[in-house]
């Protein structure tokens, strides 16, 4: 640490001597201060730049001609309070509507299970079709989360749609 000069010894002598001062400055506090400021700036620097997520809308002026297999479809309904309702297959076949939530153990597991099931039956996981229907009560975050989920699970086909009358009937029959 710092070198403390003992000048007290000279006190007894009457001769006033100009003590030779040490030019070495103790830099420890300065280093402390430096690193304190560094940590401050490291934490406040926003290195995270906003990213842009791609979103493609279906070109719905042309009716899609490709057939999809009824058992490959999973329909999600984004509800209020970050909950999701979903059913498998077509609404005509009176499927069971279940409820789940966002997150790894909620929607991701369901999507992955369905994908595996499609893989087993059709032999191709790409046949899987996800239909997303957002209710008016759902938030923008819900929507982005679910489109993100599509990217995370590498789903090739997904569509955005509105909640239809047939869907509402399914809910009331719950």
């Amino acid at each position: 640490m710092s070198v403390i000069e003992n000048t007290n010894l000279d006190k007894h002598s009457n001769q006033k001597r100009i003590s030779k001062k040490n030019t070495v400055v103790d830099l420890t506090p300065m280093v402390d201060l430096g690193f304190l400021l560094i940590t401050f700036f490291v934490f406040t620097t926003q290195l995270l730049q906003p990213t842009a997520m791609n979103l493609n809308m279906p070109y719905d002026k042309v009716k899609a001609g490709d057939e999809i297999c009824a058992s490959c479809v999973l329909t999600l309904f984004l509800q209020s309070g970050n909950s999701i309702r979903y059913y498998e297959g077509m609404p005509e076949s009176n499927p069971v509507v279940r409820q789940t939530s966002f997150g790894t153990h909620g929607i991701r597991e369901i999507i992955l299970n369905k994908k595996r099931q499609v893989q087993r039956i059709n032999g191709r996981a790409d046949d899987f079709v996800l239909i997303i229907k957002a209710a008016d009560e759902s938030t923008f975050q819900n929507f982005v989360d679910i489109v993100d989920e599509v990217a995370i699970n590498s789903i090739k086909h997904y569509y955005l749609d509105e909640i239809s009358e047939a869907d509402k009937k399914l809910f009331s029959g719950e």
Binding site: M1, S2, V3, D26, L27, T28, M30, V31, G34, F35, L37, I38, F41, V42, T44, T45, Q46, L48, Q49, P50, T51, A52, M53, N54, L55, N56, M57, P58, Y59, L78, T104, R108, A134, A135, D136, E137, S138, T139, F140, Q141, N142, F143, V144, D145, V147, D148, A151, I152, N153, S154
Partner: protein, 217 residues
Amino acid sequence: MPKVKLPRKSTAVDMTAMCDVAFLLLSFFILATKTKPPEAVAVVTPTSVATKIAKEDAILVTLTKEGKVYLMLGDKSKKEAILEDVNTTKALGLSPAELTKLRKMEFIGMPFNKIKSMLQLTEPMEPKKMEGIPIGDSANNELTDWIGSVVRSYSGESMDNLNLLVKGDNDSKYPSFKFIKDAFKRNDIFKFKIVTNPEGIPADSELALNPPGAEKK
């Protein structure tokens, strides 16, 4: 045997070098910190696994928590043409002086019929106090007209030059986003981008195992 004399070393370390390093790093971080201008409109964006950086010079549609919609014409080279196009097609009746005033505004967030009166104010209006561009029902979706002017100003160019971004707040309701989407759709824009904050890709998900870049040659 001669005694080995160990010289007593002082424990004082010369701090000069360390001090130099500390302040070098400090100056680096001070310079690297971007002083962010305080955002006029507070928007908390959702997170996504997207890795592309959002471009600055884009046409940005901002959707706030309250459902207000603002338009930012980030592409400086097109801003003038877009505003003039809006002025003529929507018959706003703005004088050249008012147009320049409008061009200086970063956020556009007023209904067409109130733009002129807003520009006549001596103090520029704060974005927070603006009403937002009406998007309500489909007949009165003024964003459609704005986007129409934007698209016209890009005519003759590849549509890839048009950088359309939507920046929405986490808590804004889905219908507002749907109206924005409809406004784009009616102008035959089916591709756009959503501004998000980056988020880690969950390990052992399909995206982490085969990233999309790897599939392409």
